[in-house]
């Protein structure tokens, strides 16, 4: 169904360490989203891009998270200093237009010990 590729599948970090994950959106999709899904199945929007430009990001993303979608390279999401509360499944999604029919990758499961 989806051709969004996320790496790595699993990521284990200690508190205070950097955690970086990558996403290749579906070919031809200019819009990319990052969501965080916690163990209670709560989804939190983090940031989205149209091509290389940030459309919207939440406060949490602005402070400890950094993300980019450079041209001709995978998109990335990096947590500068991991905290235990960051342990979650990080999902990347892409679409042709806005929120119209999102396609998600398998996610990166981050465990912060």
């Amino acid at each position: 169904n989806s051709k969004v590729i996320q790496t790595p599948r699993y990521l284990v970090k200690g508190q205070g360490q950097k955690a970086k994950m990558r996403c290749i959106p579906e070919k031809g999709h200019p819009v990319v989203f990052w969501y965080q899904q916690n163990k209670n199945n709560e989804f939190k929007f983090l940031i989205n891009f149209q091509n290389q430009e940030v459309l919207q990001q939440i406060d949490m993303t602005e402070k400890r998270f950094s993300a980019e979608c450079p041209s001709n390279s995978p998109c990335s999401l990096e947590i500068q200093s991991s905290e235990a509360g960051d342990s979650a499944l990080y999902l990347c999604a892409s679409s042709l237009l806005g929120n119209e029919r999102l396609f998600f990758g398998h996610g990166t499961k981050l465990s912060v010990l």
């Binding site: 169904n1 929007f45 999902l91 396609f103």
Partner: protein, 110 residues
């Protein structure tokens, strides 16, 4: 509070039976999507809906924006339908974000 209330939270079905999942919205939802997440985490897009109905094989979904709800009907449930179903709505207040329900964990038994 919950912008999207999804019910039931869990459901067990015998193979071959039918059921329906529901999402109620406290936001002014403009579009709805339904996803199926398998145990490995992969989210598969089942439907993208503007107000109205769509059907795909044994699945049928409806979205009523005036009454603020959406349903997903599963007909003749199969083992491979097992997983967690999520609805997600786009709202007039913010077109950048999807608001997700808390999921329905479906188990189909032989």
């Amino acid at each position: 509070g919950d912008k999207v209330k999804q019910s039931p939270s869990a459901l067990s079905l015998q193979e071959g039976t039918n059921s329906a999942l529901r999402c109620n919205f406290s936001i002014a939802a403009t579009t709805v999507q339904w996803f199926l997440q398998n145990p490995r985490g992969s989210l598969m897009n089942l439907f993208y809906l503007v107000p109205g109905t769509k059907e795909n094989g044994r699945l049928k979904s409806a979205f009523d924006s005036k009454e603020s709800y959406s349903t997903l009907h599963i007909r003749d449930a199969q083992l491979e339908d097992s997983g967690t179903y999520f609805c997600a709505a786009e709202a007039m207040s913010n077109y950048n974000v999807l608001y997700f329900g808390s999921g329905t964990k479906l188990t189909v038994e032989p």
